[in-house]
Amino acid sequence: MAGEATIEPVLELTGIGKEFGAIRALHEVDLQVFPGEVVGLMGDNGAGKSTLVKIIAGNFRPSHGEIRFAGNAVHFSRPIDARGVGIEVVYQDLALSDNLTAAANVFLGRELKRKFGPIALLDHKAMAARALELFGELRSETRPDDLVKQMSGGQRQAVAIARTRLSNARLVMMDEPTAAISVRQVEQVLGLIHRLKEQGVAVMLISHRMPDVFAVCDRVVVMRRGEKRADKPIHQTSPEEITALITGAKEAA
């Protein structure tokens, strides 16, 4: 990214730490994420990735440290607070309701309504039109009125990502988006990440799959034992080095 130094980071963590009783889950984590940047967050199970993600998403409050979002210090007590400032999470199981349509899922919890006197009824047309627009931006062949039950893994991923576009999120965190889908659908999902990047959205990709991280990420962050052990532009590192950092064969880079 040219001129990274002059652009304000969308997310800035300083000295983030988290203890659960006697267990130190995170220690002194500093991290910056810039607009339009895709950051891969890697680490073994128990390395502190999900704790970090949950702190950013507002599920947990950090024990120490400061979170700044778009330049302002923020304190989230619930996930909805994080969503309010523009942080969206695509969960591993996508959090979709199978029995509803794609459009209904995109707008779940923030339905568009039209007022008829005292009662507000759903505006199906507007929601379907907006959903189609979002699927178009993501180049996903998804019909807003189809049930999610009948969709492929890639389409489901598109629905989950379209949901984050609804609020014009500035940071999208994706938890293992490629873990449970076919090779062809992985391509689609990586394509979706590129779309987000093109539109200036910062993406944090939490993944175990090395090829995916190297395919889309600009930068990779490795966590081990609750600490950040590496933070490198992708072209200055290699899958071998990352593996060594994850397993602890190499302490830090």
């Binding site: 199981d93 199978d98 919890g109 009824l121 199906h124 062949e141």
Partner: protein
């Protein structure tokens, strides 16, 4: 911040779902509706009495007696819950309504003095507007249903108890309270407003039984609520994937409490209507009706796993049950066969839906 669309989206790999593979055509409700139509045709040829006006009115009235409660329980079933307390709730609401009405109509009683007084010739005279006693007593009946629904909802949504266990307990609690309140004798609507009460619960308007009219209005309201409000959307989302509903910021606890309250109110209203038809609210009224109500909902296509169901299905289920009962009587088959047949139909309806969803 609208993004520019370089090219309109084209669907080269994703086909359109055919019209007969979506909506009602692909639902259990659709199949059962078809089965019902076939059954009606068969009944027409089997018995010349079936399609007479009197019999139709009878059928309409009888299925309306469980259909309103079925609408309520369908809400709960769509969220993936169950309410076993509807039968007891019907009885308790009806009983409280009758008791309050009798109490308010007694000139000597403390509450009654506000509504009636004794005239010089010993007759009871209304103190205020006619019908006020009726309104107050029905509100009292619905009020106890509201409380029971709130307790159900609180235990299930806030305390996290299982719906089956909670409402099984409530079934017993409410039935017991009914026996306690009436000392096991039940109660009767009485006083100056009793005639209004009978007119409002078992009368006819333009040849249509009143309960049937209530049913149609409530079913239409339910269809609008389920498909055109965000509350309805959330009810479906809750049944489809509760965790997702929570993560997307749906007020899960509130929606759950609301569906149990709706269910209890529907059952209460149903009980009040039944008591108008019976002319009393005996303490054993509507015993085991919860099974008929749930059976009707399931036959009509509500899925006990959650996420599927609607007012049309609830009504179709009730009509099917009633037509079978009515048909067996007209065909002079022993009415003992009815239960067996209902059981077979429950299993058949679910089986046909399972086979269909395997095929597509």
């Amino acid at each position: 911040m609208a993004m520019p669309l370089e090219s309109p989206i084209s669907f080269t790999n994703v086909g359109q779902i055919r019209w007969w593979q979506r909506g009602i055509f692909a639902s259990q409700t659709g199949y059962v509706l078809l089965a019902l139509a076939v059954l009606l045709v068969i009944m027409h040829f089997a018995s010349p009495y079936f399609f007479t006006e009197g019999n139709m009115q009878n059928v309409a009235k009888n299925f309306s007696f469980i259909a309103i409660a079925t609408l309520g329980v369908t809400f709960v079933i769509i969220t993936g819950g169950i309410d076993l307390s509807v039968g007891s709730m019907m009885c308790f609401s009806a009983m409280i309504t009758s008791m309050v009405m009798t109490e308010l109509s007694a000139p000597g009683s403390p509450a009654g003095s506000l509504f009636v007084h004794m005239a010089a010739d010993g007759k009871t005279v209304l103190a205020n507007v006619p019908g006020l006693i009726l309104v107050v007593s029905i509100l009292a009946g619905l009020g106890v249903a509201l409380i029971a629904g709130l307790v159900n909802g609180f235990c299930i949504a806030v305390l996290g108890l299982s719906p089956f266990v909670t409402t099984l307990g409530m079934l017993s609690i409410v039935r017991g309270l009914g026996y306690v309140a009436s000392n096991g004798r039940g109660s009767f609507p009485g006083g100056p407003d009793a005639d209004y009460f009978y007119a409002a619960t078992s009368g006819d308007v333009l040849g249509l039984p009143v309960p049937f009219i209530y049913l149609v209005i409530l079913a239409l309201a339910m269809a609008v609520v389920l498909h055109h409000t965000s509350f309805g959307r959330h009810v479906f989302a809750l049944g489809g994937n509760e965790k997702a509903a929570e993560l997307t910021g749906i007020p899960v606890v509130r929606v759950k409490i609301e569906v149990y309250v709706i269910c209890a109110l529907a059952a209460g209203l149903q009980g009040i209507i039944i008591s108008g038809w019976l002319g009393s609210a005996p303490a054993n009224m509507a015993t085991s009706y919860e099974l008929n109500v749930i059976a009707a909902a399931v036959i009509g296509g509500a899925n006990l796993a959650g996420g599927i169901g609607g007012p049309l299905g609830a009504i179709v289920g009730c009509v099917l049950l009633e037509v079978i009962r009515n048909g067996l009587v007209l065909a002079q088959v022993s009415s003992y066969w009815q239960q067996t047949l209902v059981g077979v139909i429950i299993i058949l309806a679910v089986l046909v839906d399972r086979i269909r969803s395997r095929m597509t």
